[in-house]
């Protein structure tokens, strides 16, 4: 019997896509259906980017309302509750819906190109990640429209404020379940990226030849798979506390609220590196290109990235120096935290070393990158300051900390992500963004950012606590707050111009050649924008900065190209099931939010777990259908002109998939 099965399997691959599974597989790869069923890492990357930019603007508007409220003392622009909701949603949105997905957009779009892969290892899982991210964002923001409104618990959601007794409304449940879906999105993405980077590198592309951005993608993915379980479990425990009467964090039953802080920061601290390491990767790509020099001390930068990631799991309690930890624990966590300054410093030294002796061109991506180094350095210094618990005792939960992490996350992550967007925009769209407008955006953002956040150092040291919706004039904080608000609006104008510019450039920008910056890494060797199959040939890598070597290096280090075999290039099929599975999860999570809650429009009906079960069944059906459908696949035959200089494929080989 086995042999019968075998011969069936080895039937020649059909030229047409396989129409298998419960539903017919979608074939149309344009329009709405094409987008909803796509498994192409590039389209998924663009989906992530658009979603993330939308949420960046949303979170930005929330921030501007916050700053407007704080512009003058004792203002009553918004209520205390609204303010608390705004800062909760601002933090959650920026971390989970803006910076992480924007990084994920680069992981998706750029990383497979950098390693010469046709797609990621599990294309449909990749689509699932995108849909979970978008639906998670929707779920979180749906809370605004239900009684009680958005959560007002802070992005850290310290128990027991999240207990039903203190936050009876559904907002907290929206927050819990929204984060669970977003966690799934991050996790499936991370498993996918790890497998892709480790397993799907082009021939010759050894780990120590990987572009730095790909390395940071790998380390970030490991951080995600190891950090997110902690928050997942903490959220499950909190959900049980709120819905099923357990006592994990409830003092009356013997629960310890401090446990929530530990579990949260076991996740939360690596999360900080999840936000910053991709940015460091982007910077490490851009600096060499515009200095026309290779990265200085590549092995050490890779190694320090790994060390930062590893140490990130050993320092979580430095967020809790004021919670009454013992002297030994405090000291240990303080010294471990200080250690992190060393690998971080290494990176800065090496970035300067990269530019040293180079030929620096100040294009927009380069300006953002240099701005990143300055701002990140500032954020690092304040980080060193509150790694010392006595200093932190004054700074914890004040605007000093707000200044610190905005220097790291805006001056750091956002600046780097903007650098990345300016840098890779020509690759993604085939069009250039205007350099002059780009510089205006940079200077507006740079000035606005510093004006908004530098005074916060002083506010913090002069005693202004975070998360307060107003303050008294006697405190002497009026002036700094005023200027800070002005700065925030300048920063907002900068970002607005950026959005206009990116839309304009998409339609009207100048056409870009495939390598407009004279770059160094593999993604610049394919078309702009890349074809569906990324590379018409299989690249065989012989050097770290392969594209640079091709242009300026010695003959021995030139890239070899292998033409596709006679079957053409194998491509995965599109699928509805990732979308359906994620909708099932969405329904299940929504059902958990509605559990035993009076829902508008259903005045009398109160749901138990019916909706959750329905959603889980839908998820299960989606997964089974997904598995039965199989990866499918079809073959494309690129125009031979695209691989004119390639050597023919060996007859029996499948080529590099």
């Amino acid at each position: 019997m086995a042999s019968t099965v075998e011969t069936e399997h080895h039937a020649p691959a059909p030229a047409e896509p396989v129409r298998d599974g419960i539903w017919r597989r979608p074939l149309k790869n344009t329009g709405l259906v094409g987008f909803l069923t796509t498994v192409d890492h590039k389209k998924i990357g663009i989906g992530y980017a658009l979603g993330a930019l939308f949420f960046l603007l949303l979170g930005g508007v929330e921030a501007l309302i916050i700053r407007a409220q704080l512009m003058y003392p004792e203002q009553e622009l918004i209520s205390a509750r609204t303010y608390n909701q705004l800062f909760t949603m601002h933090g959650t949105t920026m971390i989970f819906l803006a910076v992480m997905p924007l990084s994920a957009a680069f992981f998706n779009y750029i990383m497979p190109l950098q390693i010469g892969a046709r797609d990621v290892a599990f294309p449909r899982m990749n689509a699932l990640g995108l849909w979970c991210f978008l639906l998670g964002g929707v779920l979180l923001n749906l809370s605004w429209f239900f009684p009680g409104g958005a959560p007002a618990i802070g992005w850290f959601a310290y128990a027991p404020l999240t207990d039903r007794q203190y936050s009876p409304d559904m907002g907290t449940d929206f927050w819990i379940m929204g984060l669970q879906i977003l966690g799934i999105a991050s996790l499936v993405g991370a498993f996918n990226f790890i497998t892709t980077i480790v397993n799907m590198r082009a021939p010759g592309l050894s780990m120590m030849r990987l572009p730095l951005f790909t390395w940071m993608t790998l380390i970030t993915s490991f951080l995600i798979i190891l950090a997110f379980p902690a928050i997942t479990i903490a959220l499950v425990e909190l959900m049980f506390d709120r819905h099923f009467g357990t006592y994990f964090f409830n003092v009356e039953g013997g629960g310890k609220p401090i446990l929530w802080q530990h579990l949260f920061w076991i996740f939360g601290h690596p999360e900080v590196y999840i936000l910053i390491l991709p940015a460091m990767g982007i910077i490490s790509e851009i600096l060499p290109v515009f200095s026309r020099k290779p990265l200085f001390g590549y092995p050490l930068i890779v190694f320090s990235g790994a060390v930062i990631g590893f140490l990130g799991f050993a320092v979580w309690s430095h967020h809790m120096f004021t919670t009454g930890l013992g002297v030994v624990a405090t000291t240990a966590f303080a010294f471990l935290t200080m250690l992190i300054a060393i690998p971080t410093g290494v990176k800065i030294f090496n970035w300067i070393g990269t530019m040293w002796g180079g030929r620096i061109r100040f294009t927009t991506p380069m300006l953002f990158s240099v701005g990143f180094i300055w701002m990140f350095m500032m954020g690092g210094f304040t980080g060193i300051m509150h790694s010392s618990p006595p200093v932190d005792a004054q700074q914890q939960d004040t605007y000093f900390v707000v200044a610190h992490f905005h220097y790291v996350l805006i001056g750091g992550s956002i600046f780097a992500l903007f650098a990345g967007m300016y840098y890779w925009f020509p690759k993604v769209t085939g069009r250039l963004m205007d350099d002059f407008v780009g510089k205006i955006v940079f200077y507006l953002m740079f000035v606005g950012f510093n004006l908004a956040f530098f005074p916060m150092h002083i506010l913090g040291m002069t005693g202004m606590p975070r998360r307060t919706h107003t303050y008294k004039s006697e405190m002497g904080w009026d002036q700094s707050n005023f200027w800070s608000t002005i700065g925030a609006f300048i920063l907002g104008v900068g970002i607005l111009i950026f959005v206009i510019q990116i839309v304009y450039a998409y339609y009207k920008g100048r056409k870009s050649p495939k390598d407009p910056w004279d770059s160094r890494t593999l993604e610049w060797d394919t078309d702009s924008p890349p074809k569906e199959y990324n590379f018409a040939y299989t690249p065989v890598i012989h050097a770290r900065d392969q594209v640079w070597e091709d242009k300026y290096g010695v003959e021995a280090k030139r890239m070899e190209k292998i033409a596709p075999g006679k079957h053409g290039i194998h491509m995965p099929d599109q699928s509805w099931w990732p979308l359906i599975t994620s909708i099932g999860l969405f329904i299940a999570c929504l059902g958990m939010v509605f559990h035993k809650q009076p829902i508008p429009l259903t005045a009398e009906a109160v749901f138990g777990l019916e909706i959750v079960i329905f959603g889980l069944v839908a998820t299960f059906v989606g997964m089974v259908a997904w598995a039965l459908e199989g990866p499918g696949g079809f073959h494309l035959h690129p125009d031979p002109a695209e691989y004119a200089d390639a050597t023919p494929a060996p007859e029996d080989g499948h080529g590099h998939h």
Partner: protein, 239 residues
Amino acid sequence: MSSHAANTDDPHAALEPLKKTSTGIENKKLAMWAFLASDCMFFGTLISTHLIYRKVYPTVVEPTEFFDIELTGFSSFILLMSSLLMALSVSAAHKGNIAGMRRFLLGTIFFGLIFLSGQVYEFNHFVKDAGLTLSSSVFGSTFYVLTGTHGVHVALGVLWLSCWTACSLPKDWAWYTLRGGRFLWLPIRVIFAPMVGRYKHENALDVEVAGLYWHFVDIVWIVIFTAVYLVEYLPILGF
């Protein structure tokens, strides 16, 4: 290197194209190991929650009064045996012995179900006789959520392996050979009927990956068995 890959008489060779990755490890297997690394943190967090509360409140409940260590020991035995069958099943799958693989898979599922029944019985006993519920004490909260999460893992594993068992049935498998009430079999048929006859030798990898998951659930139980059950019998310990 893969000149014999085209030799279709050799079922082992059918797996060769899957191994054409940079590391020689199949994508699915690597992703599963990464998932298991991640799952270590899941259960690590749950187990720490339980142990922390046991340590902080060592005398609030006396679990040994209602624990039935013989039953739990038997459950451990069952899971270990199921792991053996799973390993044999993967081995059979790699040899291309589909019938053998299916037999061992059925055995694994059977043992998994026994384990689950044991857990249901145990929970029932704790709730009814010992009055231990989710909200009776923080011990109840941590105990049920920890062992319950493990139980859900086992149940998902049973479901997963059932799918592969159904897939491994021959295409001409006659459902009427299964005796039983129509209503019992109907949902099972609806779910599993589309899978019948789909197993191909290249799916040996999928069975192996499902097996990795199953073994992991087993080793989590090894830890839970010691950390949650056995140490309770050492009264002087507060860890």
